[in-house]
């Protein structure tokens, strides 16, 4: 069981930042704002998390700092894309590029310093359950936050009035405006929530995943989080599924590469067969699977008109200029 536990633990660590960042982006997109700056906000969160943890000596302050900087950074996007109604795609891309550059500048002093690790929070008794205990009840705080986020966002979006308001803004901002909803305020808050989540996900990278700061350390995870939102067709629980699927694919392909088929001959025939089949697939192909899966889902949902209409925020990426 030791091996399975070890693999799953690594999968959980790989999935957590994707899940947090994607939950934030989901809320922003549900309000009709397409913010492609996730990668930039994430890397800002990574350096902020590292810097605050380093200066205070407390990784929790680091994580809060990452969140705050992510939210502040997203305000820049909100001001440009919402108030000045610039093109959201271009503004989001610019935010990513700015974030990568700015974090490098800020982080120069922190390169090459071993960081402060966010230690696991072990829940007594529950963590003693075999396998499950170690996986679910002896994790770092950000793991618990990520799972709580799924429940919270799901409940907020579909069970509360505020969630309904947010979705209505995303589906038709003119009607929402006509009903007296403050479209701008809703969108500003949604974008900032997205920024805070991306920042928190970033601080997971520099405080848990690899406890250090290196320029560009997000290495494309922000883009995977964006792809996840589409992959999940804007549903929170599907994001949870997708994040763990993407995480599992990344980790499993590494394990399969390291695996010696000779060592697992004792396994039952079908399992051995699957392993040897997986072993024959080039690693490069497996690395690109998350993106391929997203494209396949895009093709599928674009074929199903009804499904698309239900879940895609109709105003996604469109600026709102009140007519009066």
């Amino acid at each position: 069981m030791g091996m399975l536990e070890a693999i799953l633990l690594t999968v959980f660590t790989a999935a957590t930042p994707l899940l947090i960042a994607a939950m934030g982006e989901l809320v922003a997109e549900r309000s009709g704002v397409l913010n492609l700056g996730v990668e930039g906000m994430m890397i800002m969160g990574a350096i902020a998390g590292f810097a605050f943890a380093q200066m205070s000596g407390n990784p929790y302050i680091g994580a809060l700092g990452g969140m705050a900087v992510g939210a502040l950074f997203s305000l820049l996007f909100a001001f440009l894309a919402l108030t000045l109604v610039t093109n959201q795609v271009a503004t989001g891309l610019a935010l990513t590029i700015l974030g990568l550059g700015l974090s490098g500048l800020w982080g120069e002093a922190f390169v090459g310093i071993p960081g402060v690790k966010l230690q696991p929070v072990v829940i007594p008794l529950l963590s003693d359950i075999p396998l499950i205990g170690r996986l679910f009840f002896a994790q770092d705080a950000l793991f618990y936050v990520s799972i709580a986020l799924v429940f919270a966002v799901s409940w907020f979006l579909f069970k509360t009035k505020a969630g309904l308001t947010l979705r209505s803004v995303g589906d038709n901002h003119h009607s929402a405006h006509a009903l007296g909803i403050n479209v701008m305020r809703v969108r500003y808050l949604a974008v900032m929530f997205g920024g805070a989540c991306a920042g928190l996900a970033g601080s997971h990278l520099s405080l848990v995943y690899t406890t250090q700061w290196i320029e560009n350390m997000s290495a494309g995870r922000g883009w995977i989080a964006l792809a996840l939102v589409v992959f999940a067709s804007w549903r929170p629980w599907r994001i949870l599924f997708g994040a763990y699927l993407f995480g599992a694919i990344t980790i499993m392909q590494l394990h399969i590469q390291a695996l010696n088929l000779g060592d697992v001959e004792f396994l039952p025939g079908p399992i051995y067969g699957i392993l040897s089949l997986l072993k024959s697939i080039p690693a490069q192909f497996l690395s690109s699977l998350p993106y391929l899966a997203t494209i396949v889902v895009l093709v599928l949902i674009s074929r199903n008109r009804r499904l698309t209409l239900i879940n895609t925020p109709a105003m996604l990426g469109q600026g709102f200029v009140p007519d009066r």
């Binding site: 995943y209 690899t210 250090q212 320029e215 560009n216 590469q257």
Partner: protein, 357 residues
């Protein structure tokens, strides 16, 4: 004093103008890095080389660099931009810049190009240079075989190019010279730099029984994972001891400084010629970080091997060596041909992996 200097400088200019070959007063040396200079690995070491040039040549040189330039279309634009902006010599420091470097070199015959780790020199103004990193890998393999209790080491590889394959093979040969049954597990990360993925690869290898981690990727993340899990590891490209004070056994340090100084000086003096340099421990291009966290006898063995390689008495690729498929490659006492090594696309016997094609 200032005046005197001015006169001397003026005299210098007059002198150099009258010399027969095209010596220059000031040279602009430009560098293109694939990673960031803060990676504490590959690109960091190249930048240390650049700083060595500045220090050695003082105000006779002006340097510039571009970091995190992706291999591919962007590289060509970056190199061309440098060529247009008055660079006299451009160092392109990653394998993937090979075609871009040669393409731009064709357009700018007056600019000198130096491409690291490649093999194409399509124009007279393109040189290639590389280091015999595998010499260090052989030493590491020997140490790994002595230090490992599971008899399995994990190797985090980047891309299946000759450079990387050569390192894996040398490590294996070194380990087998100590323990003929030693196993090496290889994981291809398919990236030069992704701390998260490199860390995941290290975890996967440790979970599958490796108790020594070595890497041919650029970040310090694997070292950190090894430290957390309590296994030993080797640093890559630069000394990573800060990330594993009780973990790092040694590291291969790429010292590009001497070569960069020599080449920029050659441009300054007008004596630059196309070369294909492949230097190792002997020339000081490959330096080993202090041997730490190991017993004295292992350290003595490593030092002895290093001395033999440095003096030229021993070459890591000396027969008898079999290929992975069992066929003979090098006969007893035969030393591998440089051309074969630089195009290496096969494993030696004992590597527990299938080489991606």
């Amino acid at each position: 004093m200032k005046k005197v200097l001015g006169i001397v400088a003026a005299f210098g200019i007059a002198l150099s103008a009258s010399t027969a070959y095209a010596a220059m007063d000031k040279v602009k040396a430009c560098f293109i890095y694939v990673g960031s200079i803060g990676d504490f690995g590959w690109s960091y070491q190249h930048d240390q080389g650049r700083l060595a040039v500045e220090e050695a040549l003082g105000d006779k040189v002006e340097t510039a660099y571009l970091e995190s330039v992706p291999e591919g279309a962007d590289a060509e634009r970056a190199i061309e931009r440098f060529a247009r902006s008055g660079c006299n010599i451009i160092f392109t420091t990653s394998f993937g810049y090979m075609d871009a470097t040669n393409k731009v070199a064709g357009k700018f015959p007056d600019v000198k190009f130096e491409h690291a780790t490649g093999y194409k020199r399509e124009h007279p103004n393109v040189s290639t240079y590389n280091s015999r990193f595998h010499e260090g890998r052989y030493v590491q393999g020997q140490i790994a075989a002595k230090m490992s209790s599971s008899g399995v080491a994990g190797y985090i590889a980047s891309f299946p190019i000759p450079e990387v394959v050569m390192g894996i093979n040398a490590f294996t040969l070194g380990a087998q010279s100590v323990n003929p049954d030693f196993k090496l597990k290889v994981v291809w990360a398919n990236t030069w730099f992704d701390p998260g993925k490199e860390a995941d690869a290290a975890k996967a290898l440790i979970d599958q029984g490796a108790d020594i981690i070595t890497q041919h990727t650029d970040s310090t993340a694997p070292m950190q994972v090894a430290a957390e899990r309590g296994v030993k590891a080797f640093g890559q490209a630069s000394d990573m001891i800060n990330f594993g004070k009780e973990t790092q056994l040694t590291a291969i340090i790429d010292d590009w400084g001497p070569y960069y100084v020599e080449r920029v000086k050659a441009v300054l003096e007008g004596t630059w010629e196309q070369v294909d340099v492949w230097a190792g421990m002997k020339e000081g291009h490959v330096v080993m970080a202090p041997y730490t966290n190991m017993p004295d006898d292992v350290k003595a063995m490593a030092e002895e091997t290093q001395a033999k390689i440095t003096s030229g008495e021993f070459d890591p690729y000396t027969g008898p060596v079999k290929k992975q498929d069992g066929s003979d490659w090098l006969a007893e006492g035969e030393v591998a041909d440089a051309g074969v090594l630089l195009g290496m696309n096969f494993y030696v016997a004992g590597v527990d992996d299938q080489l991606p094609q």
